[in-house]
Amino acid sequence: MFEYAPAPESRSVVDLKPSYGLFIDGKFVDPTDGGSFKSINPASEEVLAEIAEAGAEDVERAVRAARKAYDKVWGPMPGRDRAKYLFRIARLIQERSRELAVLESLDNGKPIRESRDVDLPLVAAHFFYYAGWADKLGHAGFGSNPQPIGVAAQVIPWNFPLLMLAWKIAPALAAGNTVVLKPAETTPLTALLFAEICQQAELPAGVVNIVTGAGDTGRALVEHPGVDKVAFTGSTEVGRAIARSVAGTRKKLTLELGGKAANIVFDDAPIDQAVEGIVNGIFFNQGHVCCAGSRLLVQENVADRVLESLKRRMAQLRVGDPLDKNTDVGAINSAAQLERIRELSDAGSAEGAERWSPPCELPDRGFWFAPTIFTGVTQAHRIAREEIFGPVLSVLTFRTPAEAVEKANNTPYGLSAGIWTDKGSRILWMADRLRAGVVWANTFNKFDPTSPFGGYKESGYGREGGRHGLEGYLNV
């Protein structure tokens, strides 16, 4: 036997304060009405810190600070100087990446292996990428002298707290906008540490403002008349409400919403890599991924073989302490999310799908859900249609490429899709027909700052990343 001894990443690199204020106009300030909420570690339910809750008046202050910074400093500043601030921020993130990674895992519950090897490198890379655009906007294909929009209201989710912040702030600042960003209420800590990094970079006051809070804070922010641009990543339900709320205004909107991606495996696929891709597709970040490959479509003639390999591989997944360097699957982000995953999984069982999880011991405290697959799923099942946003895979079968396309597209979502086959022409044929913004062929869940990301249909509109990501922050 070969048992891996615990290999915990040290918490001591993180200097947690008991309470955090709002970051407005370059300073941490108390909320006007003094409201607050607690951010907890989902792996232990331990309270990490007390966080200020921004009310309408705080949002007002933040938008005003952003407007002033836009008019007086950031808007008029030459692109090459904006670039230097963004490069500084990128470097500071690299320098403090261990601290940020540990804090992200503490607050979010994701394994340190992922926050360290995926989130943080991508965050720094994102700032580096967009830093370089700041003084080259005339070459981005949006006219010779494209102008920023103004003040951007940005609301981000809890699944990749710092990465989503980077996806929002980096292109906005590069294009010359100023921002007011609201992190998710369950994962505000890395955004607040990012605020400190802005101070360390001596970013002019008001260019970045962080207001913490829940849905009411977010609503006050996106509905604020002083905002010129709204960018939201989160659920389709909230995205719809935001789209309604900006109707009739001049606010420019980009939305990155839910998904129910098909990961399609053909009989000639590189099976071992496909199994890795299936696992990475649905169990990466506990399945809290909008582009997760939550529907496995496997060709019927290899279904048994693929499932056998998949189950064997799932038995190797190490579920537990997010700070243990050998953990593959961490904690579910919140009690509410755990409840939703349970409810949909129970619906899967009730509707007749067959449920399977590898034997795995879950910790007593905190929010946990074992990696789970459902077989015998049909298109009619709720677990094949609704976004579960957890480590739950629905397995369906198909017989022909046309049937695979039809099933893959048979959803209101259209964020991503996966194709596994050794036949090049089939990949291109499939990729043409899949209604999804990102198509991963013989790979899955790959991200890069240069690569546009975003959905079709009810998965939202606009793209983040790449040259395309600038478009949402320029008056074009």
């Binding site: 290999a7 000639d268 696929a269 050794d422």
Partner: protein, 319 residues
């Protein structure tokens, strides 16, 4: 090593009779995506193996070492010293296990045999016109028989890469079958020389070819070409032995050889074995490291764990 006697499924055992059947079978194996395989290997390489797990892994790795010298300059004195080290890797610590085997050229086998007799440390010899394999079959078989006669109980043969790359699979197959026969009771490790096979698809096909022909182990490399064992190559081979056992019931061992120099490297391999094929292979009977300098690093790390201080190379024997 215990050889299982379970025979291959009839249809698999028939494959060697026809070039066409072999080709059809080998080319019908699932492909390997290079990037995906390398990423999986790299990901397994990030496992953090500390304290008790590390101690366990080091002792296991020592027991899996095929302590090797394959130099033109090898002499009886040199190989005797190596064999002595194989028996007692750390003279200062009797709790240190012995290695899995000593691996030498056929001419050196008698000298090693004297030292190892009755010790439980296996005696491996490269044969079949190692490392190129470019000699008439009769000479390769004579080479094999001579090594076994001189006391080797494990034979490391090289496949005919020229024939393999030219698609003459039956020729490669027949050579392995003949060598296996020449081995008698000795176990046969089949060296694929993966550094010359160019693709992981070829590594997978060669692995299956060697197993179908009766190889007891599949081994990555001779150590004589620029690219020796790598984690992804070993991953593909582990997947092959896993799938072969599922298909036939017969378990085949895996031996990465060449380029594995540090404890850190060795532990990455053990993690890969653990998470790809499981504990059935975490045994010197089923997994070996072909290495020379690895042993001293394992010993240094072992001392560090037992004493708490980092040792230096001066404190370990250089043989």
């Amino acid at each position: 090593m215990t050889a299982t006697t379970t025979s291959a499924r009839p249809e698999l055992s028939e494959l060697g009779r026809s070039e066409t059947a072999l080709r059809t079978f080998l080319h019908g194996l699932p492909g390997v995506d290079q990037v995906g395989a390398e990423q999986r290997a790299a990901q397994l390489g990030t496992r953090s193996i500390k304290t008790t797990a590390k101690a366990q892994a080091i002792d296991l790795a020592i027991r899996m070492v095929d302590l090797t010298t394959l130099e033109g300059a090898d002499t009886p004195g040199k190989v005797r010293a190596l064999a002595a080290k194989a028996l007692r890797p750390d003279p200062a610590d009797p709790s240190c296990p012995h290695v899995g085997a000593v691996c030498v050229y056929p001419a050196m086998v008698p000298y090693v045999a004297e030292v190892l007799a009755g010790s439980g440390v296996h005696l491996a010899s490269v044969a079949t016109a190692f490392p190129s394999g470019q000699a008439p079959l009769e000479i390769k078989l004579a080479d094999t028989r001579a090594a076994v006669a001189a006391g080797a109980d494990e034979i490391d043969m090289v496949i005919n890469r020229g024939a393999f790359l030219a698609g003459r699979y039956k020729e490669v197959y027949d050579e392995i079958v003949a060598t296996k026969e020449a081995c008698g009771d000795a176990h046969l490790k089949v060296i694929l020389e993966t550094g010359e096979l160019a693709t992981y698809d070829n590594v997978r096909r060669a692995s299956w070819l060697a197993m179908l022909a009766g190889g007891d182990f599949i081994k990555t490399s001779t150590g004589k070409v620029p690219v020796a064992a790598t984690l992804p190559v070993t991953l593909v081979m582990l997947e092959a032995v896993r799938d072969f056992r599922a298909a036939t019931g017969r378990q085949v061992g895996v031996k990465p050889a060449g380029g594995i120099k540090t404890t850190k490297d060795a532990i990455k391999y053990l993690v890969m074995v653990n998470e790809t094929v499981g504990t059935d292979w975490l045994d010197p009977d089923w997994f070996r490291f072909g290495a020379s300098s690895l042993l001293n690093d394992l010993l240094m790390q072992r001392t560090k764990l037992t004493t708490g201080t980092y040792a230096g190379p001066d404190y370990f024997t250089l043989d």
